[in-house]
Amino acid sequence: MTSADKHDMGNGDEMIAAEYVLGVLSADERQSASSRIDRDPAFAQLVDLWEQRLSPLADAYQQVEVPHSVKEALNRRLFSKAELSNKSGFWSSLTFWRSLTAALAAALVVYIAVPHFNLEKSAPPGLVASLAADGSNVRYLVLFDGTHGKVRLSHISGDRPAERDFELWLIKNNNAPISIGIVPVGKVVSLKLSSDLKQKLSSGETFAISLEPVGGSPTGQPTGPIVAAGELKNI
């Protein structure tokens, strides 16, 4: 055994993630790993990496016909209550997913029409940018909701250092960055845009997040490093 794997074989996060995915942990250990996935994006990413590594093993699962009664029972359990309670999340889900589609556009260049629906038909205007940068683990998904003039940010990974703020900037061509505001702390947050700024947003421009003193840049221009950036795309 090398000293490297001796070091790795403790109860490090990497090993807990691997054991969680492999499925060997006890009920309690699984419970605690699962709640960490929900609140710790770095740990969640380790788990995803192991899911990815081991996923070819899942080919060995055979397909087994499911009795009809299962879907009927499922419909009863799911849709008698879901129909009453799930009215609010539509726009957020829609934008989130359309943004995902945009992010995956390269991988899914060929659009294969799925019968029964047309995604474009009911789509409000919007822009999406996936923000990331080399040497930084900060990732955000930014959505501009044209209907409400709001920018929504989904925090995907990367912590902000203590006593610092993230500030969001719009960069048009090579002009000086325009501050959109301090990014509030949270998983999904939003910033209201002035009508002036709203006019300025269009596809092809860049959103960037810089690290700033608490309260934002004192100069009106970014003073800290860019921790994530990405180009706006129509969705």
Binding site: M1, D5, D8, M9, M15, A18, E19, L22, G23, V24, S26, A27, R30, S34, P41, A44, D48, E51, Q52, R53, L54, S55, P56, L57, A58, D59, Y61, Q62, Q63, V64, E65, V66, S69, V70, K71, L74, R77, L78, F79, A82, G89, F90, S93, L94, F96, W97, R98, S99, L100, T101, L104, A107, L108, V110, I112, V114, H116, F117, L141, S154
Partner: protein, 186 residues
Amino acid sequence: MVESPLAITSSDITKLILRVAMRDRVAFDSLYQQTSAKLFGVCLRVLKNQSEAEDALQEVFIKIWDKADRFAASDLSPISWLVAVARNQAIDRIRERRQPSVDMDSALNVIDPRPDPESLAAANHERRRIQICLEELEKDRAEAVRSAYLDGESYDELANRYGVPLNTMRTWLRRSLLKLRECLER
């Protein structure tokens, strides 16, 4: 009847999950139709009991309906994400249960697995790599990794089956996982 697996591709499943996140029931039905046989296979293999697997499958699809937007935050392929939801559900369930039950009547309904050529081609490389890497492990350890993953066996159960102390099994599997990672990243 379950639709021929030949009909579905990875990008189709992505689009269906996408629409499920938008609360589209037609998409949900279609996703169920396209993937429930595979996910049921997962539940059945882990739980080894028809009615428990049926219950677990319902829970799996309730999670998919509720958490479809979580798929965006992960880098997993859509089918890997779905299988992960099913495996986690089934394994959590079996951990809660004291005695594993054995009822393999259910194995009679196995559908001839015919994955579509596109996803086969894409998956082939990955599959070959993990096979090669598993072959680099000692035979019984590779076996233990496989049955832990596929059957959801715990350290305890594996230690019993192989007749080794719990800590030995833990060391085996941890070392095997690290070797696998090292080999896959080579």
